[in-house]
Symmetry: C3
Subunit: 316 residues, 3 copies
Amino acid sequence: MKLSEIAQLIGAQFTGDDKEITSMNTLSEANATEISFVANAKYIKEIPSSNAGAIICDVKALEKIPSTCTALVVDAPYWQMAVLTAKFAPTLEDINSAKASIGEGSIVSSRAEVANGASIGKNCNIMAGVYIGSNAIVGDNTTLYPNVVLYRDCRVGSSCVIHAGTVIGSDGFGFASDKMGIHKKIYHLGNVVIEDDVEIGSNSSIDRAVFSSTYVKRGARLDNLVHVAHNCEIGEYSVIAGQTGLAGSSKLGRSSVFGAQSGVAGHLEIAPFNTFAARTGVTKTIKESGKIFAGFPFMDHRAWLKIQGKLARLIK
Amino acid sequence: MKLSEIAQLIGAQFTGDDKEITSMNTLSEANATEISFVANAKYIKEIPSSNAGAIICDVKALEKIPSTCTALVVDAPYWQMAVLTAKFAPTLEDINSAKASIGEGSIVSSRAEVANGASIGKNCNIMAGVYIGSNAIVGDNTTLYPNVVLYRDCRVGSSCVIHAGTVIGSDGFGFASDKMGIHKKIYHLGNVVIEDDVEIGSNSSIDRAVFSSTYVKRGARLDNLVHVAHNCEIGEYSVIAGQTGLAGSSKLGRSSVFGAQSGVAGHLEIAPFNTFAARTGVTKTIKESGKIFAGFPFMDHRAWLKIQGKLARLIK
Amino acid sequence: MKLSEIAQLIGAQFTGDDKEITSMNTLSEANATEISFVANAKYIKEIPSSNAGAIICDVKALEKIPSTCTALVVDAPYWQMAVLTAKFAPTLEDINSAKASIGEGSIVSSRAEVANGASIGKNCNIMAGVYIGSNAIVGDNTTLYPNVVLYRDCRVGSSCVIHAGTVIGSDGFGFASDKMGIHKKIYHLGNVVIEDDVEIGSNSSIDRAVFSSTYVKRGARLDNLVHVAHNCEIGEYSVIAGQTGLAGSSKLGRSSVFGAQSGVAGHLEIAPFNTFAARTGVTKTIKESGKIFAGFPFMDHRAWLKIQGKLARLIK
């Protein structure tokens, strides 16, 4: 899409040399052919080090935009970014891509749908009612139980087991809102990457990233009805018990262990090798390792036990 | 069904002019050809203003039934109402209805099932594994991702996006129970109405109404694994984050915003423009607007923060 | 599988008479042709009364193994047990079994998959997108709504209603972990048994047992998005509201009533006829009946109300 067309779409002034913009990305990951955006004052400091070819911003951020980058100035950068995602979103299926490739020894149910451009490794079992979207990739020796949905462009590694009804790659819960509270959908241009040797229970939901990827790393174990929001990272060998939910962009270190019905707020980083009792609600970044936490808001597990004891005495 | 047959089915005395009863409904919504019921003393006051053609009640409510309405007196009105719902429940599919109509420009996967009597608007995408029941209606420009289930008689508006595995229109959690704790299913005769421009995440469940409709109003956003019970109303432009659950018959005003893993008890009314932090448990009707709540039982968000501070000091 | 082959697989010494081992089981349920394991000192006391033909154990448990039973001594019995489950796990489908039998009057959608060896009773409705695995059994007059998944060897009784997207029989959340935190999958050799007259809402997940069965007993009612872990038992006529989760091996007595978003920790026994308010978290076995509980950790409902009152006064 031409930069001039983008400017027109979002109502920005545009003068200067036109160029082709291939995609959208964050300030830190965008390259010279990509457009990024600044919608929050706290990201202004990332502008100088961004390689983005163009940036959607408001007038306050304008002076920070380097001369090598084109600024598209609008009143509501987040809303206009959302508007633009619709233009970069791929079609639901790439009907003109090559027929899916299926590796030797793989059994694909005649009732499974494997879209054009997808690729399935060797010795997989793709059971009835499974949907594998365009350009999705499944490694070797992986089983997708009935009615698993793998959205387009997402990846599942080798030796994975995904139980029935689990959805990988649905759009995250992202939208811009105006002053009247009306929402504009953010199309999610990223994907989900499930690494090797991961098992996920039934009816879990793992959302694709807005840009780049949501990750479930090697050897992780997720239970049933788990919610993983866009742009999360679940560290290697982590264990996430049933009905736990992770809000957007949170990153769990290796071997994080969460009891059932736990929750993690958005944009947090959790150091490796921590354990969280059932129903813990993590509200802050955690930098130490090897701890056990509980409660909501979360605290050291022993502190939580102490509070429960105090409360019990309170009523006597 | 003849009133005399209904009387016989539920073991009520019946004398007088017989008439055809077309359906069941609540006291306030029933018309002269419909039968209603009173199973709880608090609804007796609604009897005089009801237009119902007949009412199932016990002997205590009998004297309030106006002469224009036929009373069917039984020992256990709620149980007998449940018995009767089975007779008014439609068949699972209307196999004799006309073939579904599909609007111009819509792409319906050959692996989707669209039952007779259903209607799909223009430029929709109905992906593999989707089920659309009899007489269900989908507006224009709407996408149903793989394995979405839209039960019969339910409606999804225009420009909606429903992500994979979401179920719209399952029977609500309703049954009558006898003194031994044995349950009698209440067939749900109502439907779900999703208005225009709504997006719902993956693996969410929205139950149909017992009678009339469960509503998700224009512009609302629901995340993954959200539970909406029978007869709820979600106001326009509301935002319901992941793993939140709404119990039966609760009504959320416009632009209600719920953080993840929140809950709302049944039969509440929540005024517009309130915000609820993650894990809030709403236990009472809310009449003010523009507030932020947190905690369970819920309270003002600042009060909740204060309590957490006090508890933290308690253990020092 | 020969005992000598098992010994070789798991790295145990083996001398003496070889024999055929047909399956794996717990100490208390294993018979003379089955192999069991002791991975936790607290189960050593169960060894003398076990009828297992062989037991995987470490050197500490060795002296308790009776002479009638073969001991296979390894360093990590739980890990080796997990290794062995892969060998006893059945294939995903029994393609050589007889074609499924469908009872008179049953309607099976042409879009449903019924694997070889399955059996469906009379007058059932098996709707589009349903998957019924090998040797699974469905009773009479049962409805499976679209996209229900019934894994192989699982059973659903007569007069049941299972709503769309619910998964019955996925592997439980079970694995052995080594000192590096790497996990070894435990294949689940048991099944799920849903007795007669049970209704389950949409998008719920009920895991199969490791060995033997997970039970949902006669007349129980489960709502949407409920998580039932491996080896649980839900008592007759119990009521489990939306988004509740039960951890592994917990047993609920008859007529247990759980409000929404409740949870039960693993390996608990709950006496019959208790009621749990919404969001109760049960952390201990309950031996009394007829009580109402609330809170997390759970307590008497009145005590919970009292604590909430105290907390409210705390901030004034």
